[in-house]
Amino acid sequence: MKNLAIRVLVLLLGAVFAQGAAAQSYPARPIRIVVPFAAGAFPDIVARVVGQKMSADMGQPIVIDNRPGAGGNIGTEAVMRAAPDGYTLLLNSVANAIGKSLYPNLSFDPAKGVALISQLTSVSNVLVVPPSSNISSLGNLIDQARTRKLKFASGGNGTTSHLAGELIKTMAKVDMEHVPYRNFGQALTDVMAARVDFVIPNIPPTIAQIQSGQLKAIAVTNSRRSPLLPEIPTMSESGLPGFDVSSWNGLAAPLGTPEPIIARLNAEVAKALKDPEVARALSGQGADIVFGSPAEYAALIDAETTKWAAVVSAAGAQVK
C-alpha cells in the first residue's frame, strides 16, 4: 500500500518529486544490461561477472541482453531509445568511442549520447606472433616491415586489434597488410599456424595460448605492463614512445535517467568491483578494475574519442 501511496503522490506532485520517489523504490523490477557484443565475448563476461554481484546486492535479477552487430551500434542505439528509468543499462566500451569517427554518417553519437555511470575495466591488447616466428621484439618487427610486407590479422574493421596495427603503421611509418576476420578464433588459428605474421588482440582471449607457448607475446599496448604478463614490455618501452591502446568498458544508461538512480548505480558498481570474487574473475583474465565517477568516465571517453578519431582518419578506415 505504501508503494501505491507513493505512486499517487508522484502523480500529484509531478516530475520534480518523481525522481526522488523512483530512486527510493529503485529497483522494483529486473534490470536489463544490454551488451552490444555476442554472448561470450569479453565485454559480455564483464557484464555477467559485475551484473551477478550487483544483482545479489540490489535484490533484483539483472538480465544480460546481447545485441551484437554493426560494431556495437545496434545495441547502443537500442539503449538510447529505451525509457530512461534505470531499468535498461548499456555496457559501453572503447567501440563506442571509435564508432563516432568510424561511422561518420551515424544519426546518433555512440560515445556521448548516453548518461555515464562508471568505468568498469580496462584491458590491454597484446601483440602476439607465432611461436616459430623470427620476430623477437617490436623494434625487430618494424625493421622487418621495412624489408617485406608484414600481414596482421584483426577481429574486423575498426576494432582495437585493427586500429592498433594501423597505429604502428603511422607511428613507425611502415606499410603492412591488414587481414580482417569475422570469426576471431580463425584469426588466432591463422596466427598460430604462421599464415599471418601477427595479431594485436585483447589479452583475455589469448592468455591461454600465450601461457602454453602456442603464441609468443612481443609487447603489450597499454602504457604500463600487465600484471599477468610482467615480463612483456610495453610498446611505449620498445620503440614507439607514447603508444597507448587499451580496451576499456563501463556502464551507462539512456540520457535523462534520473540523477539519484545514476548515483545509486555508481555506488552499486563501486561495491561490486570491490568484491574479491569479481576482482579474481576479471584480473584472472588480465583486466584492470577501474572505478570512477561519471565525470571521470566522461573525461576518459572524451580523450579516447579524440585519440581514435586521429587514428581512424590516418588509417582511412571510415565507413561511409
Partner: protein, 499 residues
Amino acid sequence: MDVLHNLAFGFGHALTVENLLYCAVGCVVGTLVGLLPGLGPLATISLLLPLTYSIPATGALIMLAGIYYGAQYGDSVSAITMRIPHASSIVACIDGYQMTLKGKTGLALFTAGVSSFIGGTVAIVVLAWLAPLLGHVALLFGPADYCALMLFGFLCVSFVTTGSLLNGFSMCLVGVLLGQIGTDVETGLERFTFGLPALADGVSLVSVALGCFGIAEITKNLDAKDERTPFNGRINLIPTWPEFKRIIPSALRGSVVGSLLGIIPGGGPVIAQFAAYGIEKKFSKFRDEIGAGAIEGVAGQAAADEAAARTSFIPLMSIGIPENPVMALMMAAFILKGVQPGPNMIANHPDLFWGLVASMWIGNCFLLILNVPLVRFWLSVFKVPYNVLFPSILFFCCVGTFSVNNNLNDIMITASFGLIGYVMMRLELDPAPLMLGFILGPMLEEYFRRAMLISGGSLKTFILEPISASLLGLTALIVVAQIVLSLRKRPDGLRRGMA
C-alpha cells in the same frame, strides 16, 4: 589403455547424484529447445548461464553442454513433422518431411533418434581418444583450404535438389546473393542493405530457414484446407528389421563426416548436415530413393549433426579456440567458473574434462530415451486443433527468431522470407539449394579474399597448399565424372528395379 583409465575416472565424476541430475536437466532443456521451432541453444545457454553461478564448475558445464548437444539431438523432430528446420536440421526437411507425407513419421523419428545416438557415440570416442591430438587439425586449415572446402560443398547442390537441376543451381545462386546482404568484413561497407539498419548485419540463417520452409508450409496449409499436412500426432515408432538395418551404415558414415567437420573451425553441424546428405546421395545403396523420403536421407544428417556438435568441443578444450558462437559462449561459461579453456585445460582440470566426456555418454543415453520412446508425449501437441496449433507454432517461430539477436526486426525479416518461401513453393522452386548457397556463398567469398590477401594476390596458393589442392582436385574429378556419367546415360530405372 590410459584412455580407459581416464574415462573410468571421468565416470567417477559424472556419476555422482548431482552431476547425473545436472546432465538430466541439461538434456531435458536441450530436448525442449530442439523440439520448439526456431529456438536455438545459443539463446538458451545465454539465458540459463546465470542459473549456473551457484553450481560447482563440473556440474554447471555438464548441464550447459547437455543443452547444446541435446538441442542438436531433437532438432530434426520439427523438421520431420512440420517441415520447420533448425539451423542444423535443414536437410531433414527434405527426406524427413517426405516420410511424414507418406505416413512414415514414426520411422523417420526413430531413424533420427537412433542416428543421433550413433553420431554422439562415435564423436565421444573421437573426443576421448584423440582430443589432445586433434586440436591441431584446426591449425592445418588455412583460408585457401577453407575456400576449396566451400567450393567442394557447392557440389552438394546437385544432391539436395529434388526437382530440376537448373532450378537447383539458380536457387543456389539466389541464396549466394542473399548471403551478400550485410557488412562486408574486409571494407566494413554495407551491401544490399538499402540503408536499413536492420539489414546491417545481414539476414540470419534462422530467419531464412524458418521463413522458406516452416512459415511457407504453414501458409500453404492455410490456403488449402483439403491438402493439410497429414501428420496428426499418431506414430508407429518400431521399424522392421530391414528398415533398421538401413539406418546403421548411413548413420556411421554421417558420424565420421560430422566428427571431422566438427573439429575444423568454420565447419560444425550446419555444414555437416549437407555434407552427410551429399555423401548418402553418392554412396548409399539406396541413393536413388533419397529425396523422396528415404531412411538414409534422415540417418546420415542426424548422425552428422550430433557428431559435429560434440566434436566442436575439441578446438575449445585442446587449443582454447571457440569455433562457433555457441562454443564462444561455452568458453565464457568455463571462464566464469574459473577454468581457462586451452592447451593446459586437460592437464589442469582432468576431473572437469573427463567428467564432461563421460557425462556426454550418459547424456547420450538420456537423450535416446527422451527422443525415441518419449517422443510420443512431445508429439501429443498435434492433437490440438489446427486453429490453435498453427498460431502457436508461428508464435514459437517468432520467439526463436527474436532470440537469435534479441532484435524485433528479425521477426519482420522472417515474415518476409515466409512470403518468399510461399511464392517459391507455389512456383515449385526448391528452398534447400537456396539454403546451401546462403550458407556457403559468404564463406567462400570471405575465405577466397582472405587467401588472396595472405598470398599477396597469387592464385597459386590454392595449388601449393596440399589440403586445398587435394580438395580442388577431388571437386574437379567429381564434376568430370558426373558429366561423363550423364553423357553415358546410365539406365537408372533398370538398376533401381534390380536393387
